[in-house]
């Protein structure tokens, strides 16, 4: 039974990673959406939005595909330009961010399509 001790430690480690990743990514995704809405409502500035995203990206990079995060960085850059110019493109860019975030969330959850 001594040999099962490392197995138990590994199991705890795996479960912690899974739960930690789920909570971290879920919170980060929701906070990103909230921050964009705050930016739209002029509660935070473009620079603040970009700085917040940079910090959040570092945290999310531990569990999320870096390609997705880079895409969101590009979209956030486009978003700030779009609003500064009062461009109607804001909605399009916002939808793009939402779709990438939904992909990130879907990766964390168990779904039959990802299982197959």
């Amino acid at each position: 039974m001594k040999r099962l001790i490392p197995a138990a430690i590994i199991l705890v480690f795996i479960v912690s990673i899974c739960i930690g990743a789920h909570i971290c990514v879920d919170n980060a995704c929701q906070n990103t959406i909230d921050d964009i809405e705050n930016y739209y409502n002029k509660k935070i500035t473009a620079t603040q939005l970009e700085n917040i995203w940079k910090e959040r990206k570092e945290q999310m990079a531990l569990f999320v595909n870096h390609g997705f995060l880079d895409k969101i960085s590009v979209y956030i850059g486009q978003l700030t330009i779009a609003t500064n110019d009062n461009s109607p493109e804001f909605e399009t860019v916002y939808k793009n961010i939402e779709s990438v975030i939904s992909l990130i969330k879907a990766e964390q959850k168990f779904a039959l399509h990802s299982f197959y």
Partner: protein, 227 residues
Amino acid sequence: MISTVLRTIILYIVVTVAIRLMGKRQIGDMQPNELVITLLISEIAAIPLQDTEQPMSIGLAAIFVLVFLEIVISVLAMKSFSVRKLLNGKSVVVIKNGVIDQQAMRNVRMTVVDLIEQLRGQDVFNIENVAFAVLEVNGNLSVLLKKDAQPVTASDIELDLPDDALPLPVISDGKIIYESLNALQTTPQKLYKILKHKDATPKQIFLMTLDRDGNHTIIKKGGEQKI
């Protein structure tokens, strides 16, 4: 570039620890499930190295799941004969009293050429000399020769030989290995006495082995051989 180097170092450490946790078997001695897990671990470890867009935690989690499964399955296999049989199969007798069991050979999909090759590898050139040949689950062939084909042993001719004393390395590359001295129940003073007799110091020695009976082999550094 730096992140790739760091990832490689971390994954190297993790894979080494993972293989260490799985046990000490060599690749040739692995059971089928161990071989599968080892191959999978090496494949999974390569993914975060090749694709830096993948977070390392995904690769690490997958490696740890495999190690967890391997440990649990090996403990189950140790406890239960049926689990062991299910995972690893069972040994098959392919030669009995010098006669090849053709049905057993077909069952394990082994050709006569393979069988003869493995027999030759064990210095057996005549199938008729074989009492039993067993194909083990790891693919090795164990051979028991008939009594009249077995080499003569000391007990056959009632020869009384002294017990073998295991020689241990007591100096390696100029450094005294105190663990070996303890295992041999001897002291550094006795070691120095032998060296003094040979007119050498520990620093001059590349390798020195010693057994409980005091028999020793000394190889000096710098190309000089046994003294």
